[in-house]
């Protein structure tokens, strides 16, 4: 293992490389209109310092991981204490209960701005849960998920604009429309494997967006659809504060329902067969599982969930346009799933909260936030490629047998 001085030496070399590598972009600034050049020599010092610091911690962390002396939560004092508290009877329930209570109270104790941001995060939790079914459980990489989200949003917007359909009717309709769309896309797509599947779903996503941008009559094209009504409560409409809270509560309810559904599916005969498909499709098929049917089911359910999220999104923002459903949106949702930990509901929730709230609260760093964000993604993957919450399988208790856990 390297000592600090060695790491520092190596970092210093990296800093010099960093300065050289970023020289043209950071130091020279070209004004092509006035044909002027600005030399920003101080950038060299800045870049050098930043690279030196990052490199130092980077290498140190790598050394630690290589020698296996990393922090493991479950084995740490805090982790053991956590588990011993959580394993007491009733504790899980009361913790869960107070968490739900706190979540319900949030809009009444914070500003509408905060409530609105957290509602966004909740919508992304729903999206993350939906995509997680396909990517995390089924192992099928879908890079066009935002399109299904968009289909849901546009279903509500268009039905409302033309027929005055309200939120509560649109909610299931958006899910159904998106599920149908999923089935149509699924037919040609699902016999492809791995990366071919990824790029074709990306293609379908983009095609959907481009069509939306260009069908002026149906979707009002790039300008989008405005004045989408917020949900009503048995015909009663709320004011600004009220509706922000109301949508928040609807989002919480939907998240809970979807978590419940996903949880039930995960721990069922069908859910297990999805995971088996992810692990080894050939062995899975030879266990009597119909892969085509499994893939189709996965795709349709996950699309339906995106559709529901879409309706909620349209109702929250009251305005939608195709720019909300680009490839970057799909990528963002994928990041939520992978960052949190594929296949884990808790992971998805954590991933969504981090990815949506972090950039929001990184506003202090203003323009640096997307740069930092990209960098954090790399750091996360390099040092914890399995996501924050690693794959855990359910432990089954067998009646009359001693458990070895």
């Amino acid at each position: 293992m390297m000592n600090r001085v060695e790491i520092l030496k190596k970092s210093a070399i990296n800093a010099v490389i960093g300065i050289l590598l970023t020289f043209p972009i950071t130091v020279i600034k070209v004004n092509t209109i006035d044909q002027e050049i600005t030399w920003r020599w101080y950038m060299m010092g800045l870049v050098g310092a930043v690279v030196l610091i990052i490199s130092f911690f980077w290498i140190r962390q790598q050394e630690r991981q290589n020698s296996g002396s990393t922090f493991k939560f479950n084995e740490s004092k805090l982790g053991l204490k956590y588990h011993s508290i959580m394993s007491k009877p009733g504790v899980t329930k009361s913790v869960l209960g107070s968490a739900v209570l706190l979540i319900v109270l949030i809009p009444f104790i914070t500003t509408p701005y905060t409530t609105s941001i957290i509602t966004s995060a909740l919508i992304y939790i729903i999206l993350g849960l939906g995509l997680n079914i396909v990517v995390g459980l089924g192992g099928l990489l879908n890079l066009g998920y935002a399109a299904f989200f968009g289909v849901g949003a546009y279903t509500y917007a268009i039905l409302n604009m033309n027929f005055g359909v309200g939120f509560w009717l649109a909610l299931p309709l958006g899910g159904i429309a998106s599920a149908l769309f999923g089935a149509i896309v699924g037919l040609p797509v699902l016999r492809l494997k791995g990366d071919y599947l990824a790029i074709v779903t990306l293609g379908f996503g983009e095609m959907t967006r481009i069509f939306t941008e260009n069908s002026d009559k149906l979707t009002r094209g790039a300008s989008g659809i405005a004045n989408i009504p917020k949900p009503t409560f048995f015909g009663h409409a709320f004011g600004y504060f009220g509706s922000t809270r109301y949508i928040y509560l609807i989002a919480v309810a939907l998240v809970i329902i979807i978590i419940f559904i996903v949880w039930r599916m995960e721990n069922s005969r069908v859910g297990r067969s999805w995971v088996a498909m992810r692990e080894d499709d050939i062995a899975c098929e030879s266990m009597g599982i119909d892969l085509t049917q499994s893939k189709m089911t996965l795709f349709i359910i996950s699309s339906a969930i995106a559709g529901v999220a879409g309706v909620l999104f349209a109702a929250k923002n009251t305005f939608i346009n195709p720019q909300s459903f680009t490839v970057w949106e799909s990528i963002m949702i994928l990041c939520i799933v992978v960052l949190g930990g594929k296949g884990s509901v808790r992971g998805v929730i954590l991933g969504a909260l981090i990815l949506i709230l972090l950039p929001e609260y990184l506003r202090a760093f203003q323009q640096y936030r997307m740069l930092i964000f990209g960098f954090l993604l790399i750091v996360m993957m390099v040092f914890r490629p399995g996501g924050i919450i690693q794959n855990v399988r359910k432990i089954y208790k067998i009646e009359g047998e001693p458990t070895n856990e």
């Binding site: 972009i25 990366d195 990824a198 074709v200 640096y368 990209g374 993957m381 490629p385 399995g386």
Partner: protein
Amino acid sequence: MDVGYFLKLLLSGLTRGSIYALIALGYTMVYGIIKLINFAHGELYMLGAFTGLIVASLMSYSGINPVLSLIVATIIAIIYSSAYGVAIEKIAYKPLRKSQRLSALISAIGVSMFLQNFVLLFQTSDFLSFPNLIPTFKFLKPVENYLSSAQVLIYICTALFLIGFTILVKFTKTGKAMRATSQDSKMAQLLGISINKVISFTFLIGSAAAAIGGVLISSQVGQINFYIGFIVGIKAFVAAVLGGIGSLAGAVLGSFVLGLVESFGTGYISSNYEDLFAFVVLIVILTFKPAGLLGKSEKQKV
């Protein structure tokens, strides 16, 4: 039918195809060797274009000969893009070689975001105009309505690069090592091939090609911004998949098919759907040939 219009579209399709080919090669090489969709590859093209623009502006503002400026700008762009490519691999992909491929993909997405915003922050979000450095070829005078000097330059450079590249891959020791690694990296390692060197070299060549594409197309189009790499990168990736990902000849073929389809599609159907044609072709071809035009369907060993 207007023959002139057709010809114009054909030639502009070949131009697009050339640029896609230069980028798609990098995608397909990296995929062949480490089975990673290098999402950030388009950004190397963008960095190449920016470095080229900065150097070219620097030189042309001080009155240096445009052709010399263009050559120097291209060379420096190649050097920088290659260096970025190798550095990215070392930082963001190498630690992930043994992890699941999805993790490496997310890391690549992170790199892409980082580089876009890096250029956005330290340069600008506006479009910058690329100095006009391409000489006017006199012999093109009779056909100037169909074919510009820039296009000819793009054809020539792409052709030269492809020839050089073919020689490199087919006949040199490094090329053989690359091919061996892409077929069976474990076996290659046992035979004493240094995987790290091969991978670094792959990123180097791929990034160099992207940089050439970046400088050439920006000097033709005349303006660039930080976002140009992303969409072109995706298109080039589509081209690589179209041809059968991992296959070098496939990447070139796929690029030209894509370039021509886009050119004729925008010319005869509608330019609103410019970005749509790529995906339509992709889906049609993969429906009939699930492994792409020249790709071998991978027989899994059961």
